[in-house]
Amino acid sequence: MNKEDIEKIAHLARLGMTEQERDTYAEDLSRILGLVSQMDAVATNGVEPMTHPDEAILRLRPDVVSLEADRDRLLALAPDSRDGLYLVPKVIE
């Protein structure tokens, strides 16, 4: 992992990073990927991927409203809101 790799991943994850952090993460992530590469020692050809411990088909429920959202209570948790809307910096000039 080099600094460019780290920069690219950090952008995908929307994480800001200083120059010094890029060095640290390059080193840490390389070490963790070293651990992860031990998977290569096991032949897994033809093995069905296991997505979940309980692979039963997900339960369905009737398509009716089951929870009334309390808009004002949820909006009160937001860092910034007005007139029933979440506020974010201007996206379109």
């Binding site: 991927p49 296991m50 979940h52 949820l74 860092p79 910034d80």
Partner: protein
Amino acid sequence: MRFSGEFPLTLTIAELVQGLTAGQYSSAEIVQDVLRRIEAQPGLNAFITVDRDGAEAAARMADAARARGQNAPLLGVPIAHKDIFCTAGIRTTCGSRMLTDFVAPYDATVVARLNAAGCVPVGKTNMDEFAMGSSNETSFFGPVRNPWDAQRVPGGSSGGSAAAVAARLVPAATGTDTGGSIRQPAALCGITGLKPSYGRVSRYGMIAFASSLDQAGPMAQTAEDCALLLAAMAGFDERDATALTAAVPDYQAALRSPIQGLRIGVVREHFGEGLDATVGDAMQAALREYERLGAKLVDISLPNSGHALPCYYVLAPAEASSNLARYDGVRYGYRAAEYRDLEDMYKKTRSQGFGPEVKRRIMIGTYALSAGYYDAYYLKAQRLRRLIAQDFGQAFESCDVIAGPTAPSPAFAIGAKSDPVSMYLNDIYTIPVNLAGLPAISLPAGFVEGLPVGLQLIGRYLDEARLLNVAHKFQEATDWHRRAPAGF
């Protein structure tokens, strides 16, 4: 006899329930003493939030209910919740700056069910940030100290819950376990902790880390207490799409089943390289105790369990990177003070709101899921996960439970494991269990140089009753679980 003076919090939940029922003391009296003890131990840093007013009010209500002739299985018993469970009106931080001021608008199902069973919640326990850690050092609120040695970690991520029970501040606490986060701190603090089968306990209102692995469970002094708590926590919940509909058995009744002829599988690979010899000796002694109790030891192998750690460090970060995408500074939680535009707001919010270990895992997960790498990492890990799970299926053909160490060593010093990979190695015996979705319990099984060590028992899918039974029989014959650290 009426109790007076300092309250004996060495009592188990089962004993407290007896005393409350007999009118020896009130919940208000117990809770006063719990609050006094918590406030007398700020150095442990086991709690992030103590809810004095709420606890006193709930205790009064429990006493009033009892006076009216009402009862509930845990009526008046104080409990602490890991700060990963949403609690209406009391902040839920998940050990992170990101959620420092977050007050959830609802209770997690686990919290609601324990309340309905009569529990009195006294506060929220410290934890590794977003449950990512094995030492409690990644918490934004500072490390928790191990009551057996203040220079050592309590384990993690449910370290605050484990330390609080070990120091006898509370008789019970909730925890969550994604790769060992109930069992490893239970082992390092000398208490009993159960990770139920995946789906046994609802995840609704439990802040998500890795959704195919996360599971909530009880932490207490004894297996009997864990049985009482699990009975209240377990069961179907329509608000969790992966909650199981299977009926909840009578865990308490199962405790007394004889274990004569029980076949205990001893995993060859768990007694090899990487295990402290002294911990290995304690495990052998525990296994001999089981032989005395009439169990038979069976040599078994989990050939792929050695690859569980790399498998987990793809799957868990991949799921985490997706789950933690929701923290964007828009709907709730922290938002950076200054930013240029929307993207800059996301980046500053997330880089300031998350600590280093959380960022490492988000980065690993993002990388593993990114275009061109998916097959080599995520798909490969999912295939390996099946092989690891199949090993257990084979092993259980020749045994009823599996026994071995919970962690490779006793509690280590705070700051000793600065390299992430050396920290991850703490969970080599616990992680395979999460990947397979099985239940497992850690129980106190001896001491190494004054520090507790834990025995891990792994069960078949949904066989919590048997695990609790087998652990209870050990605790009837030994007193490791009765030992409390000096000064507590």
